[in-house]
Symmetry: C2
Subunit: 317 residues, 2 copies
């Protein structure tokens, strides 16, 4: 584990709790000391931790913020060039590009455990942070399915279910369901704050709900939204188009039915997907169409929930 903040520290705890031999490294002395005090194997020497991983054919997990990924990948390329490698960063295409540039021999499969809290650092982590959460494991044309299997096994050990996706599909959907919500919350908080103490006195449920994630640490929100620039721009344009259409309709006819009805129906459609009956599926990683099977499952909102040898079990709506 390279990086022992909220996510990395929680993965280290979860892996250890599942009986794995796991060790971590980070340049944060605070986090190293806290991890060691909690009985974990942690060091400030990132190079030594990577060399040890290379010698033992261990799975290296990058759990550093996106702006630090390049530096750590350069160390991976130098000190553990052929290792099994994954990451827990919230955007996937930029990391895939960086791996191809800086650690091209690594057996890489990108990951994104979709869990978190507003707090950060080792002290904020728990071994159960990923329990019941989705953990995206990326499938590209050149992803080695053996590496994919190791990432899926780690995610399942941590109590998550696994969603196989292309990096591009991941980045597009998180732009919709995570990055756009953060930007709209920021805009709403700004517009609300212009209302001053009176706005504070009258704001209730709709404003509190709509602005909650604007309380997240700005550097975290910047890292994920700016890091997903290519996928976020067209989604932001969709939102601008819809909000502009609402504005135009209100100004011209006075009506907002199209906007409000579409939102209500959209929410119902998503709820329907979520509660649709699911059927069990099996994917054999040794089968020639395994890659297509995984991607078809993920794109339809399905999940992998079990692993026995090379046979994955899961469900899809």
């Amino acid at each position: 584990m390279i990086g022992l903040g909220l996510i990395g520290g929680s993965v280290l705890r979860a892996a250890s709790a599942a009986g794995r031999t796991a060790w971590g490294a980070t340049r944060s002395t605070v986090d190293v000391e806290a991890a060691v005090a909690d009985g974990y194997d942690a060091t400030i020497d990132v190079v030594a931790a990577l060399r040890r991983a290379g010698e033992r054919d261990a799975l290296v997990v990058l759990a550093v913020p996106l702006p630090a990924v390049d530096d750590v990948l350069a160390l991976v390329g130098e000190h553990a060039p052929g290792c099994l490698l994954t990451d827990v960063t919230s955007v996937k295409l930029p990391v895939l590009d960086a791996v191809r540039r800086l650690a091209p021999r690594a057996r890489y499969c990108g990951g994104h455990p979709m869990a978190g809290t507003a707090r950060s650092g080792w002290a904020a982590g728990t071994p159960t942070l990923f329990s019941g959460a989705a953990w995206v494991a990326c499938v590209e044309e050149d992803t080695e399915l053996g590496a994919w299997r190791e990432v899926a096994a780690l995610a399942l050990d941590a109590g998550a279910h696994v969603v196989p996706l292309r990096a591009a599909a991941h980045d597009e959907v998180v732009a919709r369901i995570s990055h756009l919500p953060h930007l709209l919350a920021a805009v709403l908080a700004s517009v609300g704050a212009y209302g001053g103490p009176l706005a504070a006195a009258l704001a209730a449920g709709s404003f509190a709900d709509g602005t909650r994630v604007a309380g997240t640490r700005p550097e975290l929100v910047r890292a994920m939204t700016e890091g997903n620039r290519a996928a976020l721009l067209p989604v932001l344009d969709e939102a601008l188009g819809k909000l502009g259409a609402a504005r135009g309709s209100l100004a011209s006819t006075g009506g907002l039915a199209a906007t409000i009805d579409a939102g209500h129906e959209g929410l119902q459609r998503l709820d329907k997907h979520r509660t649709a009956p699911r059927t069990g599926v099996r994917v054999d990683l040794g089968a020639p169409d395994a890659r297509d099977g995984l991607l078809a499952l993920g794109e339809r909102g399905g999940r992998i929930t079990g692993l026995d040898g090379d046979v994955l079990t899961g469900e899809v709506g």
Copy 2:
């Protein structure tokens, strides 16, 4: 009480619970039957209820949706022309205009109890719906303070605190903190739904929070947003401007710091207003500057919490 839905039904219950003689009327036979079955004095004969109010100098409370306000006001103007009159509609300038047109002799003071649930109709009401809520009571140049006092007394009896505001100030602030959140939630739900079953599978906290109010009945959202067109348009333009600036900055420099930092700071500023220490205030409705005192209190986010004779007590940050 004219209208016995969620709000009107709850006001009737709260007024009765406070020991007032209260009666209601609505054209909904379902709501009349339910109210009568619960032991309340309710009729389908709106004209008779208004005449009775006129004879007894009772406070008439309009609790019908905005699109029905004109029809009921015409009846008020005909059958209880000089009555004490208030309403519980979520926009205030359009109702004030309608009163001036249709019931110009009424001793009117507009009101807006800022509480609600996603459900509707008599059956959804409770006597404690307004407990701890803000209840705006409007103060215009021509508002008779005796009428204002009656509305404040009703709100306090219902367990609410009273926020004195001009109708225009009310409509502007609810556009910011209630109507814009509903439109942004609708846009976000629409954009999210384009992500299909995969979006449903991966959406978590930020999306759920940001879209929650898109589940509200569309006709209720339309009534409040379309009814507040004049105040909502400039607020919608502010939001479009800020979202467009974020888009431009992401496309050109790749940075979103201005948007994200402003949202985070805005939220903190609002929290600071909300938790600022408050000092007690008194307003004597018989004093010559009472109207200015009330408005200064409301605009600064203050509230009236008690009434003894003509002396109001409250607090302001």
